[in-house]
Amino acid sequence: MTLNTADFRQRALTNARYTADLIPQNAIVAGVARSPHPHARIKNINTAGALAIPGVLAVLTAEDFEGIRLGHNDSDEPVLTTVARYVGDEIAAVAARDQQSLLRGIEALQIEYEILPHAITIDDALDLPTSIHDSCTDNITDRFQAARGDWYEIESQVDIWVDNTFETAAVPHAYLEPRAAVVHVKDDCLELVCGSHAPSMMADHYRPIVASWGSQLEIHTPAMGGSFGAKWQHSTHLICLLFAHRLQQDVAIVLSRRDDMIAGRTRAAMRFKMRIGATATGKLLAKETMLWSDNGAYSLHGPAVMRAATFRADSLYRFAATRSEGQLIYTNNIPSECFRGLGITQSTFAQEQLIDELAKRLNIDPIKLRKMNTVCEGETTIHGWQVGSCGIVDCLDSISNRINQYRRNQTSATNNRYRIGYGVAAFIHCIGNRGYDQHFDRAYVKLTAMPDGRIRISSGEVELGCGTVEVLIKTVSHELAIDPQQLDVVLGDTAIGPHGMGSFASRTSFFVAFAAEDACRRFNQMAQHELLQNIEVTGIYQPDNVVVPDESGYGNISAAYTFGTHGCCVRVDSYTGKVSVEQYWAAHDAGKIVDINAAEGQVIGGVMQGLGYALTECTAVDDNGQLLNPGYLDNRVPTFADAVPVDVIFADTFENSGPAGAKTIAEQPIIPVAACVANAVHDAIGVRLNRLPINPERVWRTLNHDTNS
């Protein structure tokens, strides 16, 4: 997309164009036949009936994508499959002149299935007599272990243990713009238009495939209606690409909301068995974690998410010893994928509740207990993270002050029906991860003097609403002393480049700001001896103090770390079990804040998503793997009526390794929300809700000692 200072205004005026707005009038439409079974072998597909329908142009099956797999490192997802591994798995694709023919074509496909035993829960998968993937006989597709410190020595010093089992639910990303893709045929090049947070990385994967058909590929990302980690490789892309290649016509697909929720992706459901040990005076000593992560049917970023969830949250505190083990388990559920906060959102739900529990048992204020134990500036955490600026204590203090002040002015007290409670939770998060892709932990920004005298800033990174464009324009206009009106920004267009890793781990603004500064330096240098119109330079940034972590995840993976503390006041209706959040406070250390409006927006938006995760969202699946709530009505994301007042506070920190002292704010705000709410609910009713979501039914059953909770 070409953007400039007017871009935000264009979106606000609703003039921005998203993928589905860019479908040419005469484009061929594509659609997918999905498995109705959670686990089944496809014995036969008869396509004759579909092909006989006037208007149906072509059908694709697994054979057409022989040997092609989707995924990051462990690519295990076929484009079209011969074994259905979840309800909704893609079996065949149809291309037609119009929507009606398409639907009739899909209907007319005759697919014979041989039903296989299936597993919807982690326990079922571990007991399943068959394997979900041939390559993985026990259905445990990845294992991870990390141990630090002298466990037995430290264990002997522990005076008090708190332990519990916690379960989080799979939730859909539920971005408002359903997945869509358009492929334009331009001579021997196929141009894929689709929203994605990582177009260059996607192109790296797709290019050799398209080249094997004798074609070239470029990816162009228009405005995107939300991704939150989901919009990455997807079979719909390759289906459209192959149809376009074969038919030599433009092809488009737009998923319905229902299909998007069935065959989109989810945040992995996890089960933690966790315990934390401390001295009688509240010094944290040891933490032990056993994690089972429900990968769903395919891996995508499942291994990365599981690893992060197993141990990363430990780094917030000065534990002397930790033992962590994680397993990633194939089930016949919707494939899981990165989702804002990676796995830290899940593990923080467990860890911060145990810290709260410990504070209650030791009769120490939960804020004080955290202050006694959090890591500080200049320290290296138990997992090798070198902490630069660190505002966690500021954050804890601000939340403590806000809560106390609110409590004093609070008139509605706990009564027989309504119970009031307060909760807090804290987190740590990185701003990049050398371990994700060791070959490419960097960013490029290209500056091109255009014939019309304007300067074009291009990057393979994308705008997710976190202000990437803003950062680029501010940096370049300042460094080149040029009017922002003279700048255009092109993001996520592989034809223009340069290569970009995309938005993972909240890295984008931090990385592009530095790369842009470097590009400006080069630009100014060249401008001394070169005519303006000849200048094209590429700036680069690669953090130099970070390393690829070792096998056990030890090492300084990120150039800086962010911190934060949330607090909330809840009212629990003991008659109905409904939890209402009355007030929410979010204190963040994001380094020096560059754009306060954008930063606050990220926090408030993240908190809203977190509240959905905490209170209402889940993918309800029946025993046969059928998704029971594939829509906004039954899988309830927060609406206007659920909006709670969020008070945003930023710690006053300056990150020496960051651009102009900044760190980043993107994923972070969602991370502590569920734990914060759970702690407040515990404070209100005296019972711990260790499963998500904390919906009225669950709270009611808990209050009424109903064993089905």
Binding site: F8, R9, R11, A12, L13, T14, N15, A16, R17, Y18, A20, D21, Q25, A174, Y175, L176, E177, P178, A223, M224, G225, G226, F228, V254, S256, R257, R258, L464, G465, N597, A598, E600, G601, I604, G605, G606, V607, M608, Q609, G631, Y632, L633, V637, P638, T639, F640, A641, D642, A643, P645, V646
Partner: protein, 151 residues
């Protein structure tokens, strides 16, 4: 049967072709008239991204079939006054009233309706009136300020 069916869309008269009588207004607006501000978020009446005003009342264009709209007047964002659009956009900029922007046209339509005094219940309950519009980026708090400033 060939009945001439007239729709007034953004002030212009359109004779709805027979083929569209049983199809969604949403698709007619987007595909036939290229009114791309109208977005499809769910197609089931849950998200409000496709909101248009029908005779001044907000409705989900994904739930309306062309054939039931004879002689009705339909307004999309493209048909709102430039004044209102600019003002809404400027307030969104000021308060951070959008991130990805996919929900924005639905909220623009709701704001136009509220500004016309559309709700009988008055401003105080605009939260409830807006509960049919989902913003997954979660900028409700900011949108509240936008709406409050607008009214």
């Amino acid at each position: 049967m060939n009945t001439r069916l007239i729709l007034h869309i953004n002030g212009n008269e359109h004779s709805l072709p027979d083929a569209w009588h049983g199809r969604r207004l949403l698709d007619y607006l987007r595909h036939e008239l290229s009114l791309m501000s109208v977005k499809e978020g769910c197609g089931e009446g849950d998200c409000g991204a496709c909101t248009v005003l029908v005779d001044g009342e907000p409705m989900c264009s994904c739930l309306l079939l062309g054939g039931v709209l004879a002689n009705r007047s339909i307004v999309t964002v493209e048909g709102l006054s430039d004044d209102h659009r600019q003002r809404f956009a400027q307030l969104c900029e000021q308060h951070g009233g959008l991130q990805c922007g996919f929900c924005t046209s639905g909220f623009t339509m709701m704001s136009a309706w509220l500004a016309e005094g559309g709700s009988e219940t008055g401003q105080n309950s605009s939260d409830k009136l807006l509960a049919g519009n989902i913003c997954r980026c979660g900028v409700y708090q900011q949108l509240k300020k936008v709406i409050a400033d607008l009214l």
